[in-house]
């Protein structure tokens, strides 16, 4: 039996400490997904708690058609997205794309000569991406999730995820090169 199944069975049979172990294992991923979507550190704790509460309530519904990690990630993504919608933040609108371009252009180009400054520019550009794109990029690069896992978490098929990832990284490269001059 896989470690995930054992953990889930332990939680469902109310073994002491089992759910706390699950939380410790996945709290980083949950917080990361929520943070990347809502972009406000002050609500990450609360929304991460809401996510894990829902995981606890619905764990009996898990059929292991996906990994536990992807299933929990999906719950976090849904909660983060719902929070964004409640705040009337536009999801997948042209505005976000425009902001990506605008913020990139507003950055102080002259000071962007080191890797650290490039990192700041990239971070701001990622923050300005639409929610789906910024989630894809950071899950792929920071959590090292595979494209199929990201597809399970966010919903679109793997081909679409790969395409978003490709275009976003190309966009970032072009932006950096334009601002740092020549090859970044």
């Amino acid at each position: 039996m896989s470690a995930d199944r054992e953990l889930v069975e332990a939680v469902l049979s109310r073994r002491p400490g089992a759910f706390e172990r699950l939380v410790r294992e996945y709290q980083g991923l949950v917080a990361h997904i929520v943070f990347r979507l809502v972009r406000h550190a002050d609500v990450v704790d609360e929304l991460s708690q809401d996510t894990l509460m829902r995981v606890h309530r619905r764990l009996h519904q898990l059929r292991f058609e996906s990994t536990l990690k992807a299933w929990i990630g999906r719950v976090a993504y849904t909660i983060g997205l719902r929070h964004l919608q409640k705040q009337a933040a536009s999801v997948e609108t042209a505005d976000d794309g425009e902001r990506f371009e605008r913020e990139a252009a507003d950055e102080n180009i002259e000071s962007a000569h080191s890797a650290r400054e490039a990192a700041v520019i990239v971070r701001e550009a990622v923050d300005a991406l639409p929610p789906l794109q910024r989630t894809i990029v950071s899950l792929y690069h920071l959590d090292e999730l595979s494209i199929p896992e990201i597809a399970e978490i966010t919903g679109p098929p793997s081909g679409t995820i790969k395409s978003h990832l490709f275009r976003t990284r190309r966009q970032l490269r072009e932006m950096l090169e334009a601002r740092l001059g020549g090859e970044a």
């Binding site: 706390e20 939380v23 917080a31 704790d45 509460m53 890797a115 490039a118 920071l142 679109p156 990284r169």
Partner: protein
């Protein structure tokens, strides 16, 4: 894998992106992606407050409603019906309970209603207290 299909140039560029990510590949395109990939690795991660897991577990414990097993539920209902029947009898025979010694029928029925509510609530309160 459905969605957009990569043409040859895009596929080559995708491979350059992946090479740059793994710090592999020394072709020009991979080198051009290296700073982007290094920058992406440094994206900030959120930090949760101390003892996050413990707080989640305590919140779950607080929120969990006491759930009655089917047998317990049936027992509660049987007790409640018996209690209600007794209350109705008591109300009908007004001499049993002094407060029910009244000529007003509506007051008597009000008292019966209160007793019924108490009859249903009492076993549940007992269960919540672990009784």
């Amino acid at each position: 894998m459905s969605g957009h299909r990569f043409d040859e140039d895009e596929q080559r560029e995708w491979e350059a992106q992946e090479n740059a990510r793994r710090s592999a590949g020394d072709d020009a395109l991979s080198r051009r992606y290296r700073v982007v990939m290094q920058s992406l690795e440094t994206l900030p991660r959120p930090s949760l407050r101390a003892d996050f897991a413990g707080r989640v577990v305590r919140r779950i414990e607080r929120s969990e409603e006491p759930v009655l097993a089917p047998f317990e539920r049936v027992t509660v209902i049987v007790f409640a019906i018996a209690f209600t029947a007794a209350a109705v009898v008591a109300a009908a025979m007004t001499n049993v309970v002094p407060m029910l010694e009244t000529d007003t029928a509506s007051l008597r029925w009000l008292a019966v209603l209160a007793l019924c509510v108490a009859a249903f609530a009492f076993p549940l309160r007992l269960r919540e207290r672990g009784g």
